[in-house]
């Protein structure tokens, strides 16, 4: 037999890129309907809630105006939501209804490549959605360039983090409706209790503790730090949290989804 033969299948980086490329092509196919909402949503939010509400909120929050406080928070919540939707509903549809993965796995990529590629793609969407919010915040003078240009990178990390957690959730889900629990039971509360809409420092102690544990809090700290150039050593802990979280949840997601993809 010819097992000594070396087969020139693409190397790892290319295999991940080809998975990413597939998702990118499908996403950009409907550029207007997919690409416009990320810009419109923060605009509506800022105009409706921010400008309307902030008249009544004169107190500064964590040393910044309320509109800056809320706007910087939106830079990462948008990444959280898009990556979570991508790796729950969209992944589930590709997995169960469209059988997209069956087709992809017939090509020279492994299940690991497929899932890691998926996570990187969700991170990319996080980056893009963060960037869209940045484009809205900047003309209003809510954040300043050039330092705020780092914010989409935090959006990427946030996307990757929520992608790995969402994929793990997806690996357990049998019917698509179960995601409602994750969305309203986990993501929505996190939106309110991670220091996006108001600071967590005034909350009761047990709630503060929970806020420390959930992932979004760490993204919010990082993004405010880069937007305001307020760096302190504590941020390294937030960054470390995100990296460890991605490694742990990513590995678990790969393990569990492998069982679903390879019989």
């Amino acid at each position: 037999m010819r097992s000594s033969e070396t087969i020139p299948y693409p190397h790892l980086a290319w295999r991940l890129y080809s998975v990413w490329y597939r998702h990118m092509r499908v996403y950009t196919k409907n550029l207007v309907s997919n690409g416009l909402p990320p810009f419109l949503e923060p605009l509506l939010f800022l105009v409706g809630v921010g400008l309307g509400l902030s008249r009544y909120i004169t107190e500064s929050m964590d040393g910044m105006s309320y509109i800056t406080f809320l706007g910087t928070g939106l830079l990462v919540t948008t990444a959280m939501f898009t990556a979570s939707f991508e790796c729950t509903y969209a992944t589930f549809i590709r997995l169960e209804f469209e059988k997209v993965y069956d087709g992809m796995l017939a090509a020279p990529i492994t299940v690991n490549n497929l899932i890691v590629g998926e996570i990187i793609w969700a991170g990319t969407k996080g980056l893009f959605f963060s960037f869209a919010v940045l484009c809205i915040l900047t003309p209003f003078g809510i954040v300043r360039l050039p330092q705020a240009l780092l914010a989409p990178l935090v959006g990427f990390l946030t996307g990757v983090m929520f992608a790995s957690m969402s994929l793990l959730v997806t690996s357990f889900v049998k019917t698509i409706n179960h995601f409602n629990f994750y969305m309203t039971g986990f993501l929505s509360p996190m939106f309110f209790f991670s220091g996006v809409v108001f600071p967590v420092s005034n909350l009761p102690k047990p709630v503060q503790l929970v806020a420390q544990i959930v992932p979004l809090t760490h993204s919010v700290r990082l993004v405010r730090a880069v937007c305001l150039s307020r760096y302190d050593p504590g941020l390294l802990a937030n960054l470390a949290y995100i990296l460890v979280f991605v490694a742990v949840f990513g590995a678990l997601a790969v393990r569990r989804l492998r069982r679903r993809l390879v019989s």
């Binding site: 033969e5 890129y17 499908v26």
Partner: protein
């Protein structure tokens, strides 16, 4: 030389054994067919070959494809093979050429090479006019041909097809068979599953009939016919047959089976079956040559199993 060597391979899902100590070899440049009822383990066997199903470990079973073990070297096998899955999993959002371009990336084909390859594959499968068509506009037969084109993007040495023509009209089936024969003459090894006996007869050099995960028989289709079933079959609705034959002696060497409302009389000698038709007093009957389907039903039984 064998491209695929499967030796005593089993696959269990919990307590269910989907594939049970199956062994076979597929020679280079040949077309090999896996036949069996739904739930016989055909698809599972195929998936084990290209590595999206894991065979039972540590039971002595081995699989070699181009000398590679799919459990360790799935990428090499996938790079050398093209796979047509049972379902047409095309990207509905993309058009025909975009579907193929996205897929070409997985093989690392440079854009210019990919475009040339796609143009010739679309011509080969008679889809050139549909290059910009949306997937939803394609008929079932066109989608199937597009999935076959996708599987051929990297000029595979081995083409694996899971029920390539199920649900397609006769024209498309014949077209696909013709293309598969052309590929085989070009040196491509083909492994397919089917439950169309005609398909196996038309294009396979060798067929393996499996049932409940086990091999029932394996041979050249013509030889399977010659060695396992009489040459002719006479089919008569059971009620007519019962009335006509009632108590009378059948000619020698005529075998009868009754199932699902039809009585079938098998014999190598056509004249003896004609003696039976004479007993019918003008009732309708169908006298034909035996085919692979008769062998198949004889081998796997006429009753439905719990998975059909």
């Amino acid at each position: 030389m064998a491209v695929i060597g499967v030796d005593k391979v089993s696959k269990s899902f919990g307590r269910l054994r989907a594939v049970c100590e199956l062994s076979f070899a597929v020679e280079a440049g040949s077309c090999f067919g896996l036949l069996g009822p739904n739930g016989a383990g055909k698809t599972t066997m195929m998936k084990m070959i290209y590595g999206t199903a894991a065979r039972d470990a540590n039971d002595g079973g081995t699989i070699e494809v181009f000398g590679f073990d799919p459990a360790r070297d799935e990428l090499s096998i996938k790079y050398l093979s093209g796979v047509v899955p049972q379902e047409n999993n095309l990207d509905d959002e993309l058009n025909v050429i975009q579907n193929l371009l996205v897929y070409a990336k997985f093989y690392g084909l440079p854009a210019r090479v990919a475009r040339e390859r796609i143009a010739s594959l679309l011509a080969f499968l008679e889809l050139s006019e549909k290059v910009k068509a949306r997937i939803r506009e394609l008929s079932g037969g066109m989608k199937r041909r597009l999935v076959i084109a996708r599987a051929l993007l990297n000029n595979p040495r081995l083409l694996i097809l899971d029920e390539p023509t199920t649900g397609l009209d006769p024209q498309v089936r014949h077209l696909i068979w013709e293309k598969l024969r052309q590929l085989r003459s070009g040196g491509t090894t083909i492994l397919l599953t089917t439950h169309y006996m005609e398909e196996a007869f038309q294009i396979c050099d060798r067929v393996l009939i499996m049932d409940k995960g086990r091999k029932v028989m394996e041979d050249h289709p013509q030889r399977l016919l010659e060695q396992n079933i009489e040459r002719y079959v006479l089919e008569i609705p059971q009620e007519h047959a019962a009335k006509a034959i009632d108590g009378r002696r059948l000619p020698e060497a005529v075998r009868v089976d009754h199932a699902q409302g039809i009585s079938r009389f098998y014999c190598d000698d056509l004249d003896r079956l004609k003696v039976v038709t004479d007993m019918l007093n003008g009732q309708a009957y169908y006298l034909r040559q035996a085919n692979l389907e008769d062998v198949f039903l004889k081998a796997t039984g006429r009753g439905l199993n719990e998975k059909q």
